[in-house]
C-alpha cells in the first residue's frame, strides 16, 4: 500500500517535470507565433503582453518592404530543395553499389567515404571558398548546391538500408536480363521510400537551417537564404521588430509543417546515426 502510493507520487512528479519542460520548450516558439500578429505598437510595448490585443496581419503584409523575404525564401527553396533531390539520387546510387555490387577497391573506397564523415566543415571551409571562387561560382546556385550534392552520411545510411533487402530481389531481375540501372531504379528505389523520405528530410532540414555555409559562399543579399539573410539583417539591426517576427516565423514554417505531417521520418534517421 505504501509502496504503491510512493509509485503514484513519483509518477506525478515525473509528469509534472515533463510538463514544465514542455512549457519551457513551447513558450518561446508560441511567443514568436502570436507576436507576429501584433501591430507595430504592441510589438515594442512595455510592459509586454504575451498575446496580441488586436490580431493583425500587417507584419506579414509589410514584411517584404523591409526584408527581401520572397527572394530569401526562393533561394532557400532552390538551395535546400535541389540539394535534397540531387543528393538523394547520388547517395542512393552509391549506397546501392556499395551494398549490392562487387567491385575492386570496394572496402577501401567505402572506408575513405566514412573518413570524410568525420571531417569538420570548418577545416575545409577556406579551401572550399577558394575552389568556388576559382570556379567562378560564388553567389550562384550551382556554387551552393554542388558541394552538397552528396554526403558520406547519406551514402552510409542508404547502404545500410540496401544491405537489409533480400538478395533474391535483383537475382530474378538479372535472370530476366534487367540492366543494373533498371534494377536500381525500378526494383530497389520503390522499396526505399521510407529510407529516402528520412534522408530527404535530414538533408532538407540541415540545408534549410544552415548558416555558416551559405554565409560564406554568398556575399550578395540577392543570393542569401532565409537563415543567412535574416542573421545578417538582424545582426546589423537594419529591420524593425515587427517584420523580423513575421520573417522569422516564415523561415521556420516549412520545417514545422513538414514535422507535423512526417514526424516519424524526422526521428527515424537518428537510429541510423546512433548505431555507430
Amino acid at each position: 500500500m505504501v509502496n504503491s502510493r510512493k509509485i503514484t507520487a513519483f509518477k506525478i512528479i515525473k509528469v509534472a517535470i515533463c510538463l514544465i519542460v514542455a512549457v519551457t520548450v513551447i513558450v518561446p516558439i508560441l511567443w514568436l507565433f502570436v507576436s507576429s500578429f501584433k501591430d507595430d505598437r504592441e510589438v515594442i510595448a512595455y510592459p509586454p503582453k504575451f498575446f496580441p490585443i488586436n490580431w493583425t496581419l500587417m507584419q506579414y503584409q509589410n514584411v517584404n518592404d523591409s526584408v527581401p523575404i520572397l527572394s530569401f525564401t526562393k533561394n532557400s527553396v532552390i538551395f535546400a530543395g535541389l540539394v535534397t533531390l540531387i543528393s538523394l539520387l547520388f547517395d542512393s546510387m552509391s549506397g546501392y553499389a556499395f551494398a549490392r555490387m562487387n567491385f575492386k577497391g570496394k572496402e577501401l573506397l567505402f572506408g575513405i567515404i566514412l573518413v570524410t564523415m568525420m571531417v569538420p566543415f570548418q577545416v575545409v571551409m577556406t579551401p572550399l571558398y577558394i575552389e568556388i571562387f576559382k570556379f567562378k561560382l560564388l553567389n550562384t546556385y550551382a556554387g551552393l548546391i554542388l558541394p552538397r550534392a552528396t554526403s558520406a552520411f547519406g551514402i552510409y545510411m542508404m547502404r545500410s538500408f540496401f544491405v537489409s533487402l533480400p538478395k533474391s530481389l535483383e537475382e530474378s531481375a538479372r535472370i530476366d536480363g534487367c540492366r543494373e540501372f533498371r534494377i536500381y531504379w525500378s526494383i530497389m528505389m520503390p522499396l526505399c521510400k521510407p529510407a529516402l523520405l528520412t534522408l530527404g528530410i535530414f538533408h532538407f532540414m540541415n540545408n534549410w537551417n544552415d548558416l555558416l555555409y551559405p554565409l560564406m559562399l554568398t556575399s550578395s543579399t540577392d543570393m542569401s537564404t532565409l537563415a543567412s539573410g535574416l542573421a545578417t539583417l538582424v545582426g546589423n539591426k537594419v529591420i524593425k521588430y515587427g517584420p523580423t517576427l513575421a520573417a522569422t516565423m516564415i523561415s521556420i514554417l516549412p520545417i514545422l509543417v513538414l514535422y507535423i505531417f512526417a514526424q516519424k521520418y524526422f526521428t527515424a534517421g537518428i537510429s541510423t546515426t546512433g548505431e555507430k
Partner: protein
C-alpha cells in the same frame, strides 16, 4: 566461363558508374580541401587571391602569440565543458521519464524535439527579443520578482551561460530521442529481476539503464563535444562575440579573419582551422580512449 567473367567486368564497370558522381563530389569538395587546408595555412593569401606567397610557419607562430585566439579557445572550451554535460544529463533524466510508449509520453517526445528542427538563426532572433532588457519578456518577469535590469547578453559574465542554456534548450530533444531509443532496447527482464530483488528507482537507473545504454551515451558525448567545439551560429546571431569578445568562439574568429575583417587573410584563417582540427582530434581521441575503458568497467559491474 569467359562469358561470366565478361559479365563480371560489366557489373564492375556499372558499379563504378554508380559511385562516380558521389566520388567526384567528395574528392573535389572534401578531400582536396582537407589536404589544401594544411597547405593554405602555410601561405600568405587573402580573399582576393592576389600576391600569394609562401609563409612557412609564420601563420602558426602568429597564432601562438595571438591573445584573441587564446581567448576564443577559452570561450569555446568553456561553452563545451558546460553545454555537453548539462545537455546530456537533462536528456538522460527526461528520456527515462518518457521512455514508456504511452500516448502522453509520445506527445512529450514530439514537443521536446521541436526546438531541434528550428534554425539557430530563428532561435537566436527569438531569444534576443525575449531577453531584450528594454522590452523583453524575461527581464519583465524577473523585474516582477525584484531582479530588474539584467542585460543577459551584454553582461560579461552572464552572456556565455545564457548562450549555453539556449543551446541546451535547442539540442536536448535530439539527444533525448537517441537515448530513449536505446532505453527501449534494454531488455525488460533485467528490470523485472531487479524489482524482485527490491531495487529502487535510482538503483535500477544506475545499475541497469546507464550500463545498458552506455554506448549510446558515449556516442552522444563525443558527437556533442565535436559539435560544441564548432559553435558559431548562436554567438554570431545573439552577441556577435561580445561583450568585449566574451562569447567569441574559434569558428567565429576563423570566419572573421578570413571573410569579414581586412586583410581577409585566408592563410591565417586556415591556420586557425588546422589548430581547431587538432583540438577536436585530440579531445575526441582522449575521450574515446577514456570512455572505452570506462565502458569495460561498466560491463564488469
Amino acid at each position: 566461363m569467359v562469358k561470366k567473367k565478361k559479365a563480371n567486368i560489366g557489373t564492375q564497370r556499372s558499379a563504378y558508374l554508380f559511385i562516380l558522381p558521389s566520388a567526384i563530389i567528395l574528392a573535389v569538395f572534401v578531400f582536396v580541401p582537407l589536404i589544401a587546408s594544411f597547405i593554405i595555412s602555410l601561405l600568405n593569401i587573402d580573399v582576393f587571391m592576389r600576391n600569394v606567397s609562401f609563409a612557412g610557419l609564420a601563420n602558426f607562430k602568429k597564432l601562438i602569440t595571438d591573445t584573441r585566439a587564446f581567448n576564443d579557445t577559452f570561450n569555446t572550451i568553456y561553452f563545451t565543458v558546460l553545454e555537453v554535460p548539462l545537455q546530456i544529463i537533462t536528456a538522460l533524466i527526461i528520456s527515462t521519464f518518457v521512455a514508456n510508449n504511452t500516448r502522453l509520453n509520445q506527445i512529450f517526445r514530439t514537443i521536446f524535439y521541436l526546438p531541434f528542427i528550428c534554425s539557430l538563426t530563428a532561435i537566436g532572433i527569438v531569444f534576443s527579443m525575449l531577453l531584450d532588457p528594454n522590452m523583453g519578456w524575461l527581464p519583465y518577469l524577473l523585474n516582477m520578482v525584484g531582479l530588474g535590469g539584467i542585460a543577459f547578453l551584454k553582461d560579461a559574465y552572464l552572456a556565455m551561460p545564457t548562450l549555453i542554456v539556449i543551446s541546451v534548450w535547442k539540442n536536448f530533444g535530439y539527444t533525448m530521442t537517441l537515448l530513449t531509443a536505446a532505453i527501449i532496447d534494454v531488455p525488460g527482464y533485467l528490470y523485472e529481476a531487479a524489482e524482485i530483488d527490491g531495487a529502487g528507482y535510482w538503483k535500477k537507473f544506475m545499475k541497469i539503464t546507464v550500463p545498458g545504454i552506455w554506448p549510446t551515451i558515449c556516442f552522444c558525448i563525443v558527437t556533442n563535444i565535436i559539435a560544441s567545439l564548432q559553435t558559431f551560429d548562436l554567438p554570431y546571431i545573439m552577441t556577435k562575440g561580445g561583450p568585449d569578445f566574451h562569447t567569441e568562439t574559434i569558428v567565429q574568429y576563423i570566419y572573421d579573419r578570413g571573410f569579414r575583417t581586412a586583410p581577409y587573410s585566408l592563410g591565417y584563417a586556415s591556420a586557425i582551422s588546422v589548430y581547431l582540427f587538432l583540438i577536436i582530434a585530440i579531445i575526441t581521441f582522449i575521450f574515446r580512449k577514456f570512455i572505452l575503458n570506462r565502458r569495460e568497467e561498466a560491463n564488469a559491474w
